[in-house]
C-alpha cells in the first residue's frame, strides 16, 4: 500500500490517513487500534469494497484496479466483522459460495466442503443445517471455512473471533495458528484485542484514530520497544508479562542447575548444593532426570542410596517463559528445570534468567 487515503464523503478528516504499509506474503499481519480508527476501512480497500480516495494498492506488483472486481474478490478470502452467513443457505451451501461462483463441478465442490468442515472443526451433520441453528462460535468457523473455500492465497479477517466467549476464542486462535502453520497464507487480521494481536501476529500494525499508522513490528519488538506514547498506552501496563508469552524457555541462557549425578558421593553432593544455593538437588543419571532430594536428607550416604522425589518445578522445552514463571511461583522455589517428556534434562530456568531474557 502506498499513500493510501480514504475520506468518506461528508466527513471532515480522512478515515484513513495516507498509509504506507507492506504486507509480507505468507505472514499473518495484524491491524490493531481503537474503535473507529479505520481498521475495517483499510481492510476493505484491499478487496475494493471501499475505493481509496488516493494512493495505490498493489498485490504481487499488480495494481488491484487492473483486475475485474469479481475476479479480484474471488481470489481473496474475506471474513467479515458481522460473520454475514447467508441465512437462507445451508452451511454446506454457504461454504460452497465461491466454488459455485467459479463454476466448480458438484463433486469437487462437495469434496472441498467436507475437507473444509473437517479443517475448521464443523461436524458433518451440521452441514445440512441453516446458520440460525448454529452457535456464534460455530458460525464464525463457517465464516472462516467459506473464506478459505477456493483456497485463496490471501485472507482478510475482520475481527473473526469477536462474537465468542474467551475460552472458545482462545481455542479458535490456536486453531488459526495451527492452520496457518500448514497453509502459509498471506493473512491480514483486524482486532482491537492486544492479546489476540500478540498471540496471532507475525507482525502487528498499530493504527491511531484517523488511520494514522503508529508502528509496525513483530509482537516481541513492539512490546519491548513501543515507538511512542500512544503505542505504549495502547499496549497496556503489562507489556513485560505479555512478552513472557512470546518466547520459549529454550531461548534463554539455561543454567546447568543444582544437579548431582546419582553415582556421586555425599561430599560431592554437598559441594553441588553450595554451588546451587538452594535447599534441594536434582538427581541425574547421565542426561536423564530422576527426581529431587532435599538438603536435609543428605546424611552421609551416597546419593544412589537416597530415594529421589517427583519434581513439580518442571517444564517442557516447548514451554513459554510465562509458563515457566507460573511453575516457579506455584512450587515455592526460584528455579524450574527444563525436562523433556522422555526425561532428558536440558537445564534450569531461574527468575534471574527470565529477567535477563526480557532485558535483551
Amino acid at each position: 500500500m502506498a499513500g493510501v487515503t480514504k475520506t468518506f464523503p461528508g466527513s471532515e478528516g480522512p478515515a484513513v490517513a495516507p498509509l504506507d504499509l507492506t504486507i509480507p506474503a505468507g505472514e499473518l499481519t495484524v491491524l490493531i487500534g481503537p474503535s473507529g480508527c479505520g481498521k475495517t476501512t483499510t481492510l476493505r480497500m484491499i478487496n475494493r469494497l471501499v475505493e481509496p480516495t488516493a494512493g495505490t494498492i498493489t498485490i504481487d506488483g499488480t495494481d488491484i484496479r487492473e483486475r475485474s472486481l469479481t475476479e479480484l474478490r474471488r481470489g481473496i478470502g474475506y471474513v467479515i466483522q458481522q460473520i454475514g452467513l447467508f441465512p437462507h443457505r445451508t452451511i454446506a451451501q454457504n461454504i460452497a459460495t465461491v466454488p459455485k461462483l467459479l463454476g466448480w463441478d458438484k463433486r469437487t465442490t462437495a469434496a472441498r466442503v467436507d475437507e473444509l468442515a473437517e479443517l475448521v472443526g464443523i461436524e458433518r451433520e451440521m452441514l445440512r443445517r441453516y446458520p440460525s441453528e448454529l452457535s456464534g462460535g460455530q458460525q464464525q468457523r463457517v465464516g472462516v471455512a467459506r473464506a478459505l473455500a477456493a483456497d485463496p492465497p490471501i485472507l482478510l479477517m475482520d475481527e473473526p473471533f469477536g462474537a465468542v466467549d474467551p475460552i472458545v476464542r482462545s481455542r479458535l486462535q490456536h486453531e488459526l495458528l495451527d492452520l496457518q502453520s500448514r497453509m502459509r497464507k498471506t493473512i491480514v487480521l483486524v482486532t482491537h484485542d492486544i492479546d489476540e494481536a500478540v498471540a496471532l501476529g507475525d507482525r502487528v500494525a498499530v493504527l491511531n484514530v484517523g488511520g494514522v499508522l503508529e508502528q509496525v513490528a513483530a509482537p516481541d519488538d513492539l512490546l519491548a520497544e513501543p515507538a511512542n506514547e500512544f503505542v505504549a498506552a495502547f499496549l497496556g501496563a503489562e507489556r513485560s508479562i505479555k512478552r513472557l508469552a512470546l518466547s520459549g524457555v529454550m531461548s534463554l541462557h539455561l543454567d546447568p542447575g543444582p544437579v548431582v549425578d546419582r553415582r556421586a558421593s555425599d561430599a560431592e553432593a554437598r559441594q553441588a548444593l553450595e554451588r546451587g544455593g538452594l535447599d534441594w538437588l536434582a538427581v541425574l543419571d547421565g542426561d536423564r532426570f530422576l527426581g529431587w532430594v532435599a538438603a536435609a536428607d543428605l546424611d552421609g550416604r551416597p546419593i544412589a542410596d537416597l530415594q529421589p522425589e517427583v519434581l513439580r518445578a518442571r517444564v517442557e522445552p516447548t514451554a513459554t517463559l510465562r509458563e515457566a514463571l507460573e511453575v516457579i511461583l506455584t512450587s515455592h522455589t526460584s528455579t524450574a528445570l527444563v525436562v523433556d517428556a522422555d526425561g532428558t534434562y536440558h537445564g534450569a530456568v531461574t527468575l534471574e534468567a527470565i529477567r535477563e531474557g526480557l532485558a535483551r
Binding site: L72, R73, Y78, I80, G84, L85, F86, H88, R129, S132
Partner: protein, 259 residues
C-alpha cells in the same frame, strides 16, 4: 414483517369479515320483523337452495371461477408490474417517492369510477382486470422494496466481498431473503382483491358477490349468506395456499422460527 404490512393485512381481513357480518346482520334484521308463518316459509338460510336446486352447483361453480379469475389474474399481473416498478425504485432511488405516490393515487381512485371509465373503452372483463390490477400495485411494490431493503447488510457485504456480481447478488441473496415479505404483500393483495371483485357487478361481472347483490335486490337472505360465505371461504383458501407456498420456498425461516 413490517408494522404497515401487518396493519394492511388486518384491514383486508376486516373488510372481508365486515362484509360477511353485515350481510348476516341484515338478513337477521329482515326476518325478525316477519310473523311466524312467514318465518317458517322464509328462513334465514334455505338449505334447499344450495342442496336441492338443480342449477345451483353449476351456477356456483361458474361464479366461483369468475371470482377466482378476477382475483388471480389481477394479482399475477400486479405482481409482474410491481416487480418492474420495484426494480425501477431499487435502481433509481430518486424515483421512490414518485412511484409510491402514483401507486397510492391509483389506490384511492373510487373503483366505481374506474370501472365506468375503463369499460367505455375496453371489454368489461378487461376493464375489471385492469382496475383490480391497479389496486394491487401499491401493496406489492411496497413489499418488494421493503423486503429487499430489509436484507441484512452483513449478508450483502458477504455477497460483495466473496465476489458476487450485481445480478448474482440479486438472484442468489436478495430475492430469496426478501421472499417472506414479498409473499406477505401478495397475500394481502389477494385477500383485498377477493373483496374488491364484488364491485365489478356494476359492469355485469361480480363473481360470487353477484349472489349478494341479487339477494339484496330480491330481499332473499339465502343468496346474501351464500355469496358472502363463499367469498370468505375463497379468501381463506387462497391465503392458506399462499402460506403453503411461502413455507415451501423458505424452509430456512421455518426452522429458524422453530427454535
Amino acid at each position: 414483517m413490517s408494522d404497515a404490512t401487518a396493519r394492511r393485512r388486518w384491514v383486508a381481513w376486516a373488510l372481508v369479515a365486515a362484509a360477511a357480518i353485515g350481510a348476516l346482520a341484515w338478513a337477521v334484521a329482515r326476518t325478525r320483523g316477519l310473523d311466524e308463518q312467514t318465518q317458517a316459509t322464509n328462513p334465514i338460510f334455505r338449505w334447499e337452495y344450495l342442496l336441492v336446486r338443480e342449477r345451483t352447483p353449476e351456477e356456483l361453480w361458474a361464479r366461483t371461477r369468475e371470482h377466482l379469475e378476477l382475483t388471480v389474474v389481477p394479482v399475477v399481473l400486479g405482481t409482474v408490474l410491481s416487480g418492474v416498478l420495484a426494480a425501477l425504485v431499487l435502481r433509481f432511488r430518486v424515483l421512490q417517492g414518485t412511484v409510491f405516490t402514483l401507486a397510492g393515487v391509483l389506490y384511492t381512485i373510487p373503483s366505481l369510477a374506474l370501472f365506468g371509465i375503463l369499460s367505455t373503452y375496453v371489454s368489461n372483463w378487461t376493464s375489471a382486470v385492469a382496475a383490480l390490477t391497479t389496486y394491487t400495485l401499491l401493496i406489492i411494490t411496497r413489499n418488494i422494496v421493503a423486503g429487499i431493503d430489509g436484507v441484512s447488510p452483513a449478508a450483502l457485504d458477504a455477497a460483495d466481498g466473496l465476489g458476487m456480481g450485481r445480478r448474482q447478488r440479486l438472484l442468489a441473496v436478495e430475492l430469496p431473503l426478501a421472499t417472506p415479505v414479498i409473499l406477505t404483500g401478495i397475500r394481502v393483495a389477494t385477500v383485498t382483491t377477493v373483496g374488491l371483485v364484488g364491485i365489478s357487478k356494476v359492469i355485469q361481472l361480480g363473481g360470487l358477490a353477484s349472489y349478494v347483490f341479487d339477494g339484496f335486490n330480491r330481499d332473499y337472505s339465502t343468496l346474501i349468506i351464500l355469496g358472502s360465505a363463499s367469498m370468505v371461504l375463497l379468501a381463506v383458501v387462497l391465503d392458506l395456499a399462499l402460506r403453503g407456498v411461502e413455507r415451501l420456498l423458505t424452509p430456512w425461516a421455518r426452522r429458524a422460527g422453530a427454535r
